[in-house]
Amino acid sequence: MRLLIIEDEADMLRRLATILRAEGYAVDTAEDGEEGLYKAQENDYDAVLLDAMLPKFDGWELLARLRKTKKTPVLMLTARDASADRVRGLDCGADDYVVKPFDLPELLARVRALIRRGAAIAITRMDFGEVVLDTAQRCVWRKGEVVALQPSEYALLEYLALHRGEVVTRTTLYKHLFDENEDTLSNLLDVRVSNLRRKLGQDFIITRRGHGYGIGIEP
């Protein structure tokens, strides 16, 4: 999953990016409204964390402009907690509104919920026969035993699982699993796929030659 954080407080931006990357997300960052809007329009993020008070133009303005072209889930993060501000944020097109100071585990859960909503999946637990995946707990079981996955491996698995029955192109995977800082010519993706196959079974992820990967598709 690839996220965009738009926040002008450099410390907060850095910390959130670190935390979310540790959770397995690919994270892009922006420090003002202009940069944030550009990136949000250029790329397909799975969710955007948006601060209300930004230089150049504020979060509400950004939202209004973004919503003209994109339906990306947006979570507004702000120190302004008056009811009027919340209403304005939600009405402008935000999907969720979190007030600072926030509880970090809660924020992470809301991000997960946003992504789920974006992928139109209501349930968190997915059953693939031998393999069971719980997106809330971010856990994978094989034949009832917990499988230890790196966050990046889990991210890939989750994405494919949320798009089960579809072939997901390598390009798409790169777009959603790596941030702008990554070198897309690397074979990190292949490495991750082979790791997953090793841990979850060779047939779990199917390769469709020339197209991409998928779960639950015909080889």
Binding site: M12, A79, F102, L104
Partner: protein, 468 residues
């Protein structure tokens, strides 16, 4: 209600007393004159009769005094002393030794007057008014009158006067009550409104139909006070809201740093980094809180300003040296034109102002710009200016730069001074505490110049209790 009654009651008491004194005075005078007239009338009658009596008892030629046993009383004279008609006059005549020479019919028992000065004198004896004449021979004539009925008449007079007076008094009191009510009613109304305002809605004001009279004056003063209270409360509310808002940011940082570190197992280096981040955020909070407390102290008027002779030029030079690393980092040119500017003030606080202004200038001026720092004397006082070649401040923002938490743009400014948004507000407070002024001029895309004027040193002035 209570108010009306107590003022009315007092008014009534005073008016009642006044009326009472006046009426009693007049009444007494009137009654006394009437009584005196009555007595005078009686006395005239007594005189008349005495003369006749003396005439009647004059001895004939050759007759001795004591031999006048048959007074020559004419019928008319007799009439004057006849008792049948109810005529209350009577007479007695005594010879010098005390022998009674004669008296009128049914005259009341009268002892011979003890006082025997020659001549005439009136006296009251119980219910009798008597005129006594002591002749040179020692003979004593006494003419008297029973004045019981006169006395009764005078008492009746007094009674009716008193009754009349009481009536007037009561009428007067009633009128006074009505007048007092008319006066106290607007007073009570003002009092009621003021209480309502004080209890609840400070935005209301008292109606002042007549600003010229005393009540109007009081009402105006009250309205002014309410306006000042309203402003003070609004400012306080705004300040509290702003302050708590500002504190959310560093608190949020600490929370996120710490919770992030606790989410999963970290390397010691990662823990250290998170802790260092927490410390930095906490220090930001500390700076903010210190600034807030500073301002609060200035607001309350308890911040002491040590007044000592100092020179703005010296202070400016020190501050310039302090910020030199910052100017060098941005390759800014720092022009110094520091002429002697002696003043009377708190050098630490004034340095705080200069450093603040410099830090702002450095922060907002793009690389390779110029900052000019000037000090000079100014008509007995001192002045200092800091100018930059930064982007300038929009005209509509210019009047608001000294407001608390006001920032050039709505987002959080990452100023070198910590970005509290209070820097200029504190400068303003410090300068005002010195009795000086701080002003700003700016032109978009050209630059900004802040100017501080400090007044000439006078005797130490009291720290102003309230900021306008």
């Amino acid at each position: 209600m209570k108010l009306r009654y107590s003022i009315r009651a007092r008014l009534l008491g005073h008016i009642g007393l006044l009326l009472l004194v006046v009426l009693a005075g007049f009444g007494y005078v009137a009654w006394h004159r009437e009584s005196a007239a009555r007595i005078a009338e009686i006395d005239r009658e007594l005189e008349k009769r005495l003369n006749l009596l003396i005439g009647a008892y004059r001895p004939e030629a050759g007759q001795r005094l004591r031999e006048v046993s048959q007074p020559h009383l004419s019928p008319r004279t007799l009439e004057l002393f006849a008792n049948e008609g109810g005529d209350p006059f009577y007479y007695w005549v005594w010879l010098g030794e005390g022998l009674v020479q004669g008296h009128s019919n049914d005259a009341p028992e009268t002892p011979m007057p003890a006082q025997r000065d020659k001549g005439r004198s009136f006296r009251m004896r119980g219910d009798f008014r008597e005129l006594i004449h002591v002749a040179p021979s020692g003979r004593c004539f006494l003419v008297g009158r029973d004045i019981r009925s006169e006395r009764a008449a005078m008492r009746a007079d007094a009674a009716s006067l008193a009754a009349f007076g009481l009536g007037v008094l009561l009428l007067g009191l009633g009128l006074a009550w009505w007048i007092a009510s008319r006066v106290t009613r607007p007073l009570a109304k003002v009092s009621r409104t003021a209480k309502q305002i004080a209890d609840g809605d400070l935005s209301r004001r008292i109606d002042v139909p007549k600003p010229e009279d005393e009540l109007g004056e009081v009402s105006n003063v009250l309205n002014e006070t309410f306006a000042r209270l309203e402003t003070a409360f609004a400012r306080q509310k705004q300040f509290t809201a702003d302050a708590s808002h500002e504190l959310r940011t560093p608190v949020s940082l600490i929370l996120t740093h710490a919770q992030g570190a606790l989410l999963r197992e970290q390397t010691p280096a990662e823990y250290r980094e998170a802790l260092a981040d927490c410390v930095r955020a906490a220090q930001r909070m500390k700076t903010l809180i210190d600034s807030l407390l500073d301002l609060a102290r200035f607001d309350a008027g308890v911040e002491p300003i040590q007044r000592q002779p100092c020179d703005l030029a010296g202070l400016a030079r020190d501050c310039a040296n302090l910020v030199r690393p910052l100017t060098e980092a941005k390759r800014l040119r720092l022009d110094l034109d520091l002429r002697a500017a002696p003043c009377h003030g708190d050098s630490a606080r004034l340095s705080q102002v200069i450093t603040n202004l410099l830090a702002n200038a450095i922060h907002f001026t793009p690389d390779s710009g110029t900052i000019a720092l000037r000090t000079n004397q100014d008509g007995g006082g001192a002045c200092l200016s800091v100018s930059d070649t930064g982007p300038g401040i929009a005209p509509d923002q210019l009047s608001r730069v000294f407001e608390r938490f006001h920032r050039a743009d709505a987002s959080r400014a990452r100023a070198a001074s910590g970005g509290t948004g209070l820097g200029l507000a504190i400068c303003d407070a410090i300068v005002k505490a010195h009795g000086g002024t701080i002003t700003v001029e700016s032109e978009i895309a050209k630059g900004t110049i802040f100017t501080v004027h400090l007044p000439p040193a006078t005797e130490p002035s009291r720290f102003p209790r309230s900021q306008q």
